[in-house]
């Protein structure tokens, strides 16, 4: 496994694990996340996995207090410890991946842009739905907004460019397409994604012990549901 460590400011270290957005790099990121999960150092504040890297945020003062070592800077102490851990990753074991099914009511008032996606790709609306539900998706990263997943795996047949003028408000739980990405808005926010449907599931609930529905590494299946099922699920979840 190849990696490169570099500082990002005086309290973070960035572990670079690749330079392309793909499943193979994503799997390596997940291996290292599993490895970091097993580290129990009080000076690790948190870490942020991304497409090709993980950034570990640490407390340099605590590093010096706990790992007393007069010859090295906090960064070098942290880099050494992380390096030793990464090198011990012999068998590439990843956290057990979860598969999460996301019910979606496609089209209509909740998916106003589905006809744009259909026209752009010379498909019928039904074909757009069947391509979207057939995709095998992976959450590469959570970012941009609380619980907002960057999802890879959209079938190229339904890839569609962003809207030229972004909407000032896209409702929470909207399912959209932007280029070759698909995603679900976790909170209401402005955005230029083509909105093709909506899920009754909440992606972000700040008062829950696990505040986001999705985590980096999750596998996703979208499932088309009727208005009745959607309304039933939404009522049950509220």
């Amino acid at each position: 496994m190849e990696y490169k460590l570099s500082p990002m400011g005086d309290q973070s270290i960035l572990i670079e694990l690749g330079n392309t957005i793909d499943l193979a790099t994503h799997d390596i990121v997940q291996h290292v996340v599993t490895c970091l999960d097993s580290m129990d150092h009080a000076w690790i504040i948190e870490y942020i996995p991304a497409f090709t890297s993980i950034t570990v945020i640490y407390d340099p003062v605590q590093v010096l207090e706990i790992e007393a070592n007069p010859f090295k800077s906090p960064y070098h102490i942290v880099a050494n410890i992380i390096e030793e851990q990464i090198q011990q990753i012999a068998v590439l074991e990843t956290k057990k991946q979860r598969t999460i099914e996301i019910p979606v009511l496609y089209g209509g008032e909740y998916g106003p842009d589905i006809s744009i996606v259909a026209e752009h790709n010379h498909l019928t609306i039904e074909e757009v739905i069947s391509f979207h539900t057939a995709g095998e998706y992976t959450v590469y990263m959570i970012g941009f907004a609380p619980g907002f997943p960057y999802i890879g795996g959209l079938p190229k047949r339904i890839a569609t460019p962003r809207k030229t003028t972004p909407r000032s408000v896209t409702p929470a739980r909207s399912v959209g397409i932007a280029g070759e990405q698909t995603g679900v808005y976790s909170i209401e926010s402005p955005g230029g994604w083509q909105v093709i449907g909506r899920t009754p599931l909440e992606l972000f609930q700040p008062n829950d012990p696990e505040p986001t529905l999705l985590q980096t590494g999750d596998k996703i299946k979208f499932k088309s549901v009727t208005k009745e099922v959607y309304d039933h699920l939404e009522a049950k979840l509220c």
């Binding site: 942020i48 890297s53 003062v61 800077s73 959570i142 505040p211 986001t212």
Partner: protein, 333 residues
Amino acid sequence: MLKIIKPGLLTTVQDLGRTGYRHHGVVSSGAMDRNAHRIANWLVGNNESNATLEMTLMGPIIEVQEDALVAITGADLSPTIFGKPIANNRPIFLKKGSIIHFDRMKRGCRAYLAIGGGINVPKVMNSRSTDLRAKLGGYHGRSLVAEDILYIRKYSEHTKHTISHLRNQANQIDDFYQADWSVGRVSKIDNTYPIRVMKGRQFDWFTKESQASLVNKQFRITAASNRMGYRLDGNKLSQLKSQEMISEAVRFGTVQVPSDGNPIVLMADSQTTGGYPKIAEVATVDLSRLAQKKPGDMIDFTWITHKEAEQLLIKQEREMKQLLVGVQLRSYR
């Protein structure tokens, strides 16, 4: 209990930030000037992680509806109680019914009001900080408005001691009584030297001229700046060639450069990840000074090495620790 009579320009509940949830895309938030926030808490006998009020540029008017111990740090918002000026950087005992009147800032950008016990708002994801964009934490996830009521948490022994000590010294007729000591040097806003930065992860993506001009030319903080980031102008930075960056983590202090060439310094409400190249990272020791700059102010940067930034931070934390011990000794003398 505190009652907001006038909210000021932007007054929010903040603490040291929301940590441990950035991998969920949740921003840290927290006090922009962490040092001022910490010192305000120490002066009233609180743990530094208690919630304070962050007040921006134009201060609020607040009625104290019970006897209270407060301290104000950071920017100078010319605070008065019934027309009598009160000083920053010292514990002040207030009698029930006192009204603190903050004005337009004279110096700095953000002041902090700590109250003995700390502000009692529920913790959301382990923090009382207000996240304005996600509308969570703090007081109902928003900045304060008139008629808001803030409750106070239980006093520490230190707070109880300071209150009884200052109450004994107050006259029957005084509305308030200020301690006869204050904290000095560490809490002063010092603009006499540049903001120190380290090379960012994509420093090499920029032209030699842009690398040099980041520190040789001045930038202005534009009006489109807020707690998420300071947008700078006055000096466009260009890349050697156009290349797409794969999004990675960013944080408080990251200097990123979008395609228009005008840098943005990310602040306390920084998003968790970003896709613009990062030319520099502000040294943690200078984040409090940066937080006291306001739209219209000029910024100078200067390069320091990563090692220097680490050493400065360690030295600053040693001084902060000494300051805390000093405050505790003064309070119990």
